[in-house]
Assembly symmetry: C2
Homo-oligomer: 360 residues x 2
């Protein structure tokens, strides 16, 4: 089979030149006579890869000097626990925006380690929009406000990060490095790599250095951000292959114009799909508020579930794959992460118009 356009919500499509470069040096990494996955994590050959990935991440995302970049394992799911473990003491109040599946999950795990409360709950709105700033209820003494910058399943995003007088903590798993952020409002940003950055098995934390003292509770070594920072994410053997691939993806993002270009591109590309929805005379329907539509995960419905099934079958036959919506919301979801080629978006939009014309 020739290469498909993979609209999966993650893990997902990666730039083809990255995959080809990984393949070409898979057995012999840069003349070492070894594969990268056979290198010692203390070897100069790997240390170059590691340091270059840290430097590239900082450069591409515009990370300020007073933040540390950590490469960790366990995904955002482990970070749902370790972020509150490291930032606050037991019983301290932390606010969570219940914006969708991931915002809710993050809050549930945080509640084990802190007094996590909802600053806003999207349930009455069916998780179809983000809160307005004046809807956020922040209690006195709150240590941070947690937001999910993009809800992968529901297809909504924080269009502007709120300024609410407490530091922000953001799970950016599904829109990492697709947009610049106002660093001055943030204490910590985190996310899994497996959407915009590289393969599964790596999470990246960016944390304000002054939050990294002795942790506010006793913790085992792997759970401590301060130790990972001190050891430059080499406290133990890191997920070397994922870091290596991410380094190549970061170089590719740079070659494409950086995060600002990714942001423009994401707005333009998702915009074309939303336009195909909005101009379909109601054949396609976006269930979410226009202002909060995700630029990464375009969720839409067709008139019936039968038509949705037919849409998925016909799309797959044309090499447009993994367009099925998450089982919890149904319908269609087109994820157009950074690495999706423009041609994939063109093909999808053309297909959508043709399918609507035939079946409407």
């Amino acid at each position: 089979m020739s290469r498909v356009y993979n609209f999966c919500a993650g893990p997902c499509t990666l730039p083809l030149p990255v995959l080809e470069a990984v393949r070409d040096e898979l057995v012999d990494f840069r003349g070492t006579g070894m594969s990268l996955i056979e290198l010692s994590h203390r070897s100069p050959a790997y240390e170059d890869v590691h340091e270059e990935a840290i430097a590239s991440f900082r450069q591409v995302f515009g990370v300020p000097e007073d933040f540390e970049v950590l490469f960790l394992q366990g995904g955002a799911t482990l970070l749902f626990s370790t972020v509150p473990m490291n930032l606050v003491a037991e019983g301290e109040p932390v606010a969570y925006v219940r914006s969708g599946t991931w915002g809710r999950t993050a809050e549930q795990d945080a509640a084990v380690f802190a007094d996590a409360y909802p600053a806003w709950d999207g349930a009455p709105h069916g998780y179809t929009r983000m809160p307005r700033v004046d809807e956020l209820e922040i209690r006195p003494g709150t240590r941070y406000l947690h937001v999910t910058s993009n809800e992968t399943i529901e297809g909504i995003r924080v269009s502007a990060f709120p300024d609410v007088g407490v530091p922000l903590v953001a799970d950016m798993s599904s829109d990492y490095l697709s947009r610049p952020i106002p660093w001055e409002r943030f204490d910590l940003v985190y996310g899994g790599a497996q959407k915009n950055l590289g393969p599964a098995g790596l999470a990246v934390v960016v944390v304000r250095r002054e939050r990294l003292g002795e942790p506010p509770r006793p913790l085992g070594s792997y759970l401590r951000f301060d130790l990972h920072a001190e050891r430059r994410s080499l406290l133990n053997t890191p997920p070397m292959f994922a870091i290596y691939v991410m380094g190549k993806v970061l170089a590719w993002i740079r070659s494409m114009g950086g995060v600002e270009a990714m942001e423009r591109r994401a707005a333009e590309r998702s915009g074309r799909i939303y336009a195909a929805i909005d101009t379909s005379d109601g054949f396609y329907r976006s269930p979410v508020d226009r202002a909060d539509r995700s630029h990464m995960n375009v969720v839409f419905r067709l008139p019936t579930e039968e038509l949705e099934a037919a849409f998925l079958r016909a799309a797959e036959a044309e090499g447009l794959v993994n367009l099925k919506g998450h089982r919890s919301v149904g319908g269609i979801r087109a994820s157009v992460y950074n690495a999706m080629p423009d041609e994939g978006v063109d093909a999808l939009v053309t297909f959508m118009r043709a399918f609507a014309e035939q079946r409407a």
Copy 2:
């Protein structure tokens, strides 16, 4: 450069046919039109890889029916925390053998979550041997005895797992699947994949199912073994690439005759290196007790540090690389994990004899 013999203590050499197969399907995984690292972890193509890896691990290691196999992230280092977190309540006594660097580190992390105490301390012996069974001091009420089955840095191993009336928990990171174990004595076995099993970024836990009830303390979701077991290690996105490569390594181990063959091979191969040491008229010297010599990491010294440096330079010139001992113990360390070809051991032994003859 042509392929070298890589004696690194981990990450380390992998079977060349495995690397070649990974390379060949890196860009297009089995006709999907996608790379394995672009697949959804919920896709049938990946689920096959995942289930096959679980089944192979069970089969190759002879895991009994009443144990679960979990694929986790964070390495053995995170497990130093999560094993006591999941198995015991705060304040409950757990015994640790301080056999070397890793035994000590495991105990330090466990002490945060339980009443961890040393059942035996190798410090007075310079960590050159393991305890005899009658030297182990187990307090009443102890929930488990933790052993490090092979101390990677010091080069010693547990030659026979003790029967002490409390369940064993073993960190087998550096001799995983190089020997069968008496499952009836164990509650849990764990280890990082990056020595005998595959790339870094994956840890495998084998845990007795009856230990997997509601955890004895409140825990965030990623920290809970019971949830990982329920979800067959698909609670969140797993380290798919590492699991996939491990699957291929497991098939390779099977093709070589399984764990019993690995055990015989390890005894024979390390035995040849120890013989080169013991018959060198004192030029080479093993610092550890003969009965506890590791079959994976052969540690030895030369008469002077200058000779050791010359040995490392000359070995590297012949394509025998990563033979330097850990900085904390110095000297030479030849790690001969499962995937080291016999020819690598032959080449090392030949080199050792020639070097001793020239320089003695």
